[in-house]
Amino acid sequence: MTTFSELKKSFLTALWFMFLTFPIMVIRVNTIDKIVIWRWRNMGYVGVASFFLSLAWRYFLRRKEAGSKRALSRTANSQTLLERISSERRYKIPAMTAAAIGIIMFPFIMNSYQTNIMITALMYVVLGLGLNIVVGLAGLLDLGYVAFYAVGAYTYGLLNHHFGIGFWAVLPLGGALGALFGVLLGFPVLRLRGDYLAIVTLGFGEIIRLILENWNEFSYGPSGIAHIARPSLFGLKLSFFGEIRYLYFLMIGMVLFTIFVVNRLQNSRIGRAWIALREDEIACQAMGIDKTRTKLTAFALGATWAGMVGVIFAAKTTFINPDSFTFLESAMILSIVVLGGMGSILGVVIAALILILLPEYLRAFSDYRMLLFGAIMVIMMVFRPQGIIANVRRSYNFKKVED
């Protein structure tokens, strides 16, 4: 492999991209005044950029392939740094202590904006962990997860608006209603597999949103519900910053609670059944696992978290309308699960933080931020298709019995 042939390849790639981007990047037409603006300089930029990017792209792709071959040859030590920190005690305790201090100090060091976006990110951590049950563990591709999120949000929005019921009373109710809707959706789609399931769940999510949009008498339609009460703290009146801090710690608690529950679930009899269902549906049934029940519990438990986060969402924004529950939201949550590494809790946490905080920190790039965001999603998938942290199966303690 000579450098020359590499350069030639990149040169051809650059030519190709110059051709590809020609009409859209170079020509700008003002159809009204019939003026054509030729922006030749853009073509130059594209050429130079794609030349170097293609060099880098192929270099990293080769490295990735070499890496995956190496990983195959040595099975035991192929964990990445993060995986090692998460699995080895020696690293785990200091890492966790540092993380704990960081988490507690965060809202006191950072300003309220930072805390606020962190709250949003934490909400997505919980959503990601919830969807992880359905997609990551049970292998049921759900593209309408946002429907349950909407159910939770509207539960609180409506109950608070009409009856003034408080946050803490509705939180479990939102979860329960989420679960109920999970089962309602689960029943008709039990027979469907794979991508058929995906499109039906997508349709279900859209149906819920459209109903919220059109049924004014019930949901106040697109103008939404305003003035939803923020969570109360033993009846204390908090300052604005106090409320943000309070919500932050509430979310931290929620995240810890979710991690605790999901972790226990996935290492239980039910969790194993979910994974078996994901791995091979027929064998799973043949081993005596009730497919219907297992699927329904996955849907219901996944939806529970969405319902609860929905309640928190309504309390945080104090205003909800159907626009917040579009398909893109579902896609975002799904991306968190896949990017994190299906079934891996730590992976989902990291992915949620990246995907939600990234657009905020990309504000500096203003117009380009969504462009970069899309590109980063592609790049991460190409170079790390198994997700940030590939899920590691745990090992069990067992007694050796002498016969």
Binding site: T21, I24, K34, V36, R191, L334, S335, F373, G374
Partner: protein, 300 residues
């Protein structure tokens, strides 16, 4: 009766539009089992390319029919080129990755392409020139069928026919069918699988480009976001018909188009999409493989 006919024609037009996009989805799915979320963007880029080329030619004062031909050709060439490139960048490196990873890559690509067009062109709606000439003989029937609509129906029909012939009778068509059935076997009997996948993307993108130009002429305006909604609907249609099946995609598109049209006409346009999705759910419950899809009994 006239009202019924109007709605019926409206449904057919919608169906044709969905079909042109749905075919790309279904072909790609048939070959590599990927929901290509960026497909709607390919369609959008086709429409933009046609708009840009047509405007430039119009400023230069070229004849209308020549504009139509050149703009259409440019749209097809560029959409195909984009489809081809997207596959090489975002899907090919993921061929052996976990099943959902290419899906996320596709979502990322879709966001990227939308914003690329937004930044390089504009966020505003642009008026799309009516490239299709007015046929005098249609004037008395203008409330039922307009020239653009006639062209859309005819083009869709011709394209379907050509595609069926291509898949049934040509060498590449056979290779595509073989790859769809069993990629490993196809590889073993000497099919260049990578090439087949590329060609599938190119053909699917070309169809989307044709759809893009026709739809844009029909509704008279485009912006960077048109691909998303049309894409979701077309995908729904493809699944409705049985994803992976070419006649299924066409049938599903017409069923969806007619349902929407009649739901609006006889019930309410408020719940037009609710009807569309409810129909999808119902059909899949009773026929889990879609209308013309393979029965989903798995081999044990």
């Amino acid at each position: 009766m006239e009202y019924f006919l109007e709605l019926f024609m409206g449904g057919l037009i919608r169906g044709s539009i969905y079909a042109l996009i749905a075919l790309g989805y279904t072909m790609v799915y048939g070959i590599i089992e990927l929901i290509n979320f960026a497909h709607g963007e390919i369609y959008m880029i086709g429409a933009f390319t046609a708009l840009i080329v047509a405007s430039v030619l119009a400023v230069m004062g070229v004849h209308q029919l020549a504009i139509l031909a050149i703009a259409m050709l440019a749209a097809i060439v560029y959409s195909s080129a984009y489809g081809f490139t997207v596959e090489k960048i975002a899907y090919k490196p993921l061929r052996h990755a976990p099943r959902l990873s290419p899906l996320i890559s596709a979502i990322g690509m879709s966001i990227f392409l939308q914003n690329y067009v937004l930044l390089a062109q504009t966020s505003d709606f642009l008026p799309f020139p009516s490239l299709i000439p007015d046929f005098k003989f249609l004037e008395p029937y203008s409330s039922i069928l307009r020239p653009t609509e006639l062209v859309i129906l005819l083009t869709t029909g011709v394209v379907m026919l050509l595609l069926t012939l291509l898949i049934k009778f040509t060498k590449i068509g056979k290779a595509m069918r073989a790859t769809a059935q069993d990629r490993t076997m196809a590889l073993l009997v000497g099919v260049n699988v990578n090439q087949v996948i590329s060609i599938t993307f190119v053909i699917g993108s070309a169809l989307a480009a044709i759809g893009g130009v026709l739809i844009a002429s029909h509704i008279g305006q485009i912006n960077f976001f048109i691909g998303f909604i049309a894409g979701i609907k077309a995908f729904t249609a493809a699944v409705l018909g049985g994803i992976g099946s070419v006649p299924g995609a066409v049938l599903g598109s017409f069923v969806l188009g007619l349902t929407e049209s009649f739901a609006t006409g006889y019930v309410s346009s408020d719940y037009e999409d609710v009807f569309a999705f409810a129909l999808l759910v119902l059909i899949l419950i009773f026929r889990p493989g879609g209308l013309l899809g393979k029965s989903s009994t798995q081999k044990v």
